[in-house]
């Protein structure tokens, strides 16, 4: 992944996006509730085979997930290099707590490690349809503090 020139926005290729998804474990899922309001939740995840897997307790996320069109995002900002990046995944979410086949059965062994306390016995997979990313080096003035 080349460093972008200051002031330029670089579109990341899918390979770079996949590398970033594999090398991180905290992202945010966005869902639409029944009143067409978008909701965002931070989750710890594991990414492989084009699927983002996270664990959750019964609640809003689990109720809205089955068959839902969702988005998932990770981002980073390096204050020394002043480089920012983000990856957005659009996909369809499914409850894989009770796996129906070999692929989802395998996912249940992926190392998904929630940092927040509490039991999270339900597993959710987001099948990625579209992965896009961008990266930039900021040319904005540093804050004068």
């Amino acid at each position: 992944m080349l460093d972008p020139r200051p002031g330029q926005l670089e579109i990341l290729g899918e390979g770079d996006c996949v590398k970033l998804l594999r090398s991180h474990d905290l992202g945010r899922i966005a869902l639409v509730d029944r009143e067409v309001r978008p909701l965002i939740f931070p989750v710890n995840y594991f990414f492989d085979e084009g699927v983002i897997v996270f664990r959750t307790a019964p609640g809003t996320k689990l109720e809205l997930v089955p068959g839902a069109y969702v988005s998932f995002e990770i981002d980073g900002w390096d204050p020394d290099e002043r480089i920012g990046w983000s990856v957005l995944v659009k996909g369809i979410a499914h409850d894989i707590t009770n796996p129906r086949g070999a692929p989802t059965g395998r996912m249940r062994f992926w190392p998904v490690r929630p940092m927040a306390p509490g039991s999270r016995e339900h597993w959710v997979g987001i099948w990625a349809n579209e992965v896009t990313g961008r990266k930039f080096q900021s040319d904005a003035q540093r804050p004068t503090t």
Binding site: P6, Q8, A30, L39, I40, F41, V70, S71, G84, A116
Partner: protein
């Protein structure tokens, strides 16, 4: 930031403190619904009371956010503590309007870090603010 204070295993952050935390940060993410599917965009923002202001170029955020229900989120995980704050509200295009929300948004001076002209201002008037905090690895 109160993130270093001892916390219960998992606790709700009261609204007043969520607003305080929002005021201490400048990078968040907005979720908007585009053709039935939610999308997430990272933005640099600034607060003015209960109003979250950010700047943007013409594009999805400007086309779909104004007059829509949106969510906004910030989070952080370090020094053994994780927290997140979620805001639900309605977005308005504050670029030229003379209502109170737009005035407040334009006075909030968000500083976009990403390059490119961002001549449009968007304001999110917070209706519901929730937060949670927990000990990492507790």
């Amino acid at each position: 930031m109160k993130a270093n204070e001892p916390v219960a295993e998992l606790e709700e952050i009261p609204e007043a403190e969520c607003l305080e935390i929002l005021g201490q940060h400048s990078l968040g993410r907005i979720a908007i619904v585009v053709d039935g599917q939610p999308q997430i965009f990272p933005v640099n923002y600034a607060m003015s009371g209960r109003i979250i202001a950010f700047r943007t170029a013409a594009g999805s955020k400007l086309s779909y956010a104004p007059r829509s229900k949106v969510s906004f989120e910030i989070d952080k995980y370090d020094s053994g503590v994780g927290w997140s704050v979620m805001v639900q509200g309605v977005a308005v295009d504050a670029t030229e309007a003379f209502d109170d929300v737009s005035w407040a948004a334009r006075g909030a001076a968000p500083r976009p870090l990403a390059p490119g002209a961002k001549p449009h201002w968007v304001a999110i008037e917070a209706r519901k603010i929730t937060g949670r905090r927990f000990r990492v690895g507790a």
